[in-house]
Symmetry: C2
């Protein structure tokens, strides 16, 4: 109880971040507004179904907005909401970790994959 863990709420976050492609998808959205096709290419070889599923879920969770432009060549834009943008520090921290990995020489890593 001296434990600063606030259960339930972190799970709200897990519901957002879970899924094989979600982190990768969000990373791209931090770079700005993206269209379905762009994301699909960026996350290749993700299937359209999976991409749609993820985007819909993020939409429901209030992380991204979906804007349809019914003009001649139809297109749709996905953009992070404010709530979504508040996730950025998490990704920045992830980037820092990745950097620390790259620069740290004593990466003992997986002995398993080395022996095979």
């Amino acid at each position: 109880m001296s434990d600063p863990i606030c259960p339930g709420s972190i799970e709200r976050l897990l519901e957002i971040l879970e899924g094989k492609w979600t982190l990768l998808l969000l990373r791209h959205l931090f770079n700005g507004i993206k269209r379905f096709g762009e994301l699909r290419r960026a996350l290749h070889p993700i299937s359209p179904k999976t991409l749609t599923d993820r985007l819909r879920l993020l939409e429901e969770r209030g992380i991204v907005t979906r804007t349809v432009y019914s003009e001649v060549p139809l297109h749709v834009e996905y953009q992070l909401t404010e709530r979504g943008r508040r996730l950025e520090p998490i990704f920045i921290a992830m980037g820092v970790w990745v950097q620390s990995e790259a620069s740290d020489p004593k990466n003992e890593l997986v002995s398993k994959s080395l022996s095979s």
Copy 2:
């Protein structure tokens, strides 16, 4: 290419964080050395199989160490490695997000679950 995304490496991180219980599990390990039973109770109702699977995976990835004490009542301790501890900023960032959620009144949230 102006995009600061370093592919491949972030996926190394995803391999570590993926899985239903991993985040929750790591959170507990940041609180110090834990024994199997402790983790099991803390993550209840996780199954022993799943807990073992996750711990083994984190071990392989160099995130935790497993120390066996073959004394009378056998016990095993799990502890974060240095590499594992470097993940903490990510969790702190997650905590910050959760806090921001709690304090932010304009949580539009899921319209779906509200209407049902």
